[in-house]
């Protein structure tokens, strides 16, 4: 990625941006986030198939954002997250420059977020076959079997909230689980507490989740939480014509129309 390194250096040298967020080699053949602040830091930038962490989670982090204008190495999922965040007024052209990386691993620098959005809209979010199969299996279960499946899968959760921290859309300073007057979600990580936490998190991501799997990849216990959000994407497709992050579009779950179907009310 010589091109990426060259451009990152130019941007830092010219002072166009104060930090370039990208990937560098990490431990044990993993990759991790790099924050290039000096031009020479950019020499460490890499990009390859191991670079799957969604870096958009950092653009709402005060310590990163506080440095000044950011540039970010953005794969398609990262670009989707950026557009969703822009629609929620978390980033804009004045604080973010996107150095896109196409699915063919080509670098493409965008003039503004509108261009990023146009690029994002060339692709639709498709659920991978391996997940579709799992979801179909879940759909075929009886409600009590499905209940047991989730109680069992969620039971190891110790509420480290890595899923929340890794998710670009979970940028609230105070999350619903932290409100205790009243206590909406039980804090203990027992079966009920875990179930309520993951249900609440999934519902808060309805119509916002860009399907990057950051939550699942972050989970130290390997809990398949992304099955919940993927299921919602399928629902969004069936009932609302699908989800595509857009800077100015209505939000799927916070938009009301008088002629909305009400057949889901039992």
């Amino acid at each position: 990625m010589d091109e990426l390194i060259k451009r990152a250096k130019e941007l830092l040298e010219a002072g166009t941006v104060k930090v370039v967020i990208g990937y560098e080699n990490g431990s044990a053949d993993k990759t991790r986030a790099l924050f290039a602040i000096e031009p020479k830091d950019a020499d460490k930038l890499i990009f390859d198939s191991r670079c799957v962490m969604n870096l958009a989670t950092y653009i709402t982090k005060a310590e990163v954002k506080g440095k000044g204008k950011m540039a970010i190495t953005a794969t398609l999922p990262v670009m989707r997250a950026i557009i969703q965040l822009a629609s929620e007024f978390q980033v804009n052209d004045s604080n973010l420059l996107v150095l896109g990386i196409t699915p063919e691993s080509k670098m493409i620098e965008f003039k503004d977020l509108a261009e990023v959005e146009a690029f994002v809209h060339k692709y639709t979010i498709e659920i991978e076959a391996k997940y579709s199969e799992k979801l179909e299996k879940l759909d075929k279960m009886t409600p009590s079997e499905r209940w047991s499946f989730w109680i069992e899968e969620l039971s190891p959760c110790f509420k480290c909230y890595a899923c929340r921290a890794a998710c670009p859309m979970c940028y609230c300073h105070k999350c619903t689980v932290e409100f205790n007057q009243p206590q909406w979600i039980p804090v203990p990580s027992h079966d009920l507490g875990n179930l309520e936490w993951h249900m609440m998190r999934a519902i808060h991501l309805a119509g916002r989740c860009i399907d990057c799997d950051a939550c699942y990849n972050a989970c130290p216990l390997g809990i398949p939480l992304n099955l919940l959000t993927k299921r919602m994407l399928i629902d969004a497709k069936e009932h609302f014509g699908g989800y595509q992050p857009s800077i100015k579009a209505d939000h799927l779950m916070s938009t009301y129309k008088p002629d909305d179907k009400d057949n889901f009310i039992m």
């Binding site: 991790r32 924050f35 950092y58 310590e63 130290p220």
Partner: protein
């Protein structure tokens, strides 16, 4: 006491497991699920995971569960009635297959729970745990027990330490405590006389990466270093490191209420969370991740050695393996060692 050394045949381990399970004792051992290994109650010997360098979670849950009821309460016409947890409700646990670093970690964790207040619930639980450690023959780049006072065949904290003599070999059993002797008494025929065995040659080689002086001595003057800011920039502020750590002891007290009935529950907490130190006034003394990251390192490598004469780290490397942002504690400690003051 001086350790008694015996030989346990490879084929006898299953028999020992079956004996340990009897008489209302529970055996907790490594179990793999979704590609991660954790300790849990095991019924079948074949369910015990063996193919791992280190378990994803530590074994601290046997004495410090992630969610632990400390009392039940009910509201009634006369006010409130409260019922504590009886010690006899706490099970006898045979903790099978923990690594020497985890066994050493029990002492570190206990030093916190007995620092000023003696935590009865913790101590009660621990008193019912028998530690059956297994030495390490494998290691990876995250291990650094030898830099914090441990080693792959360390007996500290174990009641019996088993060392496998070669890849598919029998086991040397070092019986280290009275609890260990009680295990032998359950099935003495499984513990044969051991000849001269040099266990060191069967242990993993874990190189020393730093000395006490290089880190402890440095940290005394390191509080205001800019290094913390650079190190913590990629930290996403979750609690994975604290929750997989064998010595992290922070907890939060919660009331889990259901109408007129409820329980008071002790739940794990983490200094990495942004709201951990938020005051009622709205002031947060650790309002940036660098201050929280510094706290994590200082607590383990400066404050605990100073106040409790132990590290708050066993070098197990779990925090680094589990970190979704690839914060690597050994790498960060090494850069502290090398940083200019």
């Amino acid at each position: 006491m001086k350790s008694d050394r015996r030989l346990v045949r490879k084929g006898s381990l299953e028999k020992l497991f079956e004996v340990l399970k009897g008489d209302n004792r529970q055996v907790y051992a490594p179990f793999s699920r979704n590609g991660r290994t954790s300790y849990r109650k095991i019924e079948k010997f074949s369910d015990i995971a063996t193919d791992y360098i280190q378990t994803t979670q530590s074994s601290k849950e046997v004495s410090f569960p992630r969610t632990e009821k400390i009392l039940d309460y009910s509201k009634n016409a006369d006010g409130m009635s409260v019922k504590g947890i009886e010690p006899d409700q706490i099970p006898q646990i045979m903790l099978w297959g923990i690594r020497p670093c985890d066994a050493m970690g029990i002492g570190e964790l206990s030093s916190i729970f007995n620092w000023d207040y003696k935590d009865e619930i913790y101590n009660n639980r621990l008193s019912k745990v028998t530690v059956l450690g297994f030495s390490c023959s494998k290691t990876d780049e995250y291990c650094f027990c030898t830099s914090v006072g441990g080693n792959p065949g360390n007996t500290e904290g174990s009641d019996i330490l088993f060392t496998q003599l070669g890849g598919n070999g029998d086991y040397l059993a070092e019986i280290l405590t009275e609890k260990g002797e009680k295990v032998i008494a359950l099935s003495p025929e499984l513990f044969e006389a051991a000849g001269d065995i040099e266990k060191e040659k069967f242990l993993a080689d874990v190189p020393v990466k730093f000395s006490h002086k290089e880190i402890y001595g440095k940290l005394e003057k390191f509080f205001d270093s800019e290094e913390w800011v650079g190190q913590s920039l990629r930290c996403i502020g979750c609690g994975a490191c604290a929750y997989v750590c064998p010595t992290c002891a922070c907890f939060d007290i919660q009331d889990d209420s259901h109408g007129k009935l409820g329980s008071r529950v002790r739940c794990w907490d983490s200094c990495g969370f942004s709201l951990f130190t938020l005051h009622t006034s709205g002031h947060n003394p650790r309002n940036v991740q660098s201050a929280r990251w510094r706290q994590r390192i200082m607590h383990k490598f400066s404050y605990m050695p100073e106040r409790l004469s132990v590290y708050g780290c066993t070098g197990c490397g779990r925090c680094s393996r589990a970190c979704p942002a690839d914060m690597n504690i050994l790498e960060h400690l090494t850069s502290i060692k090398e940083a200019a003051l």
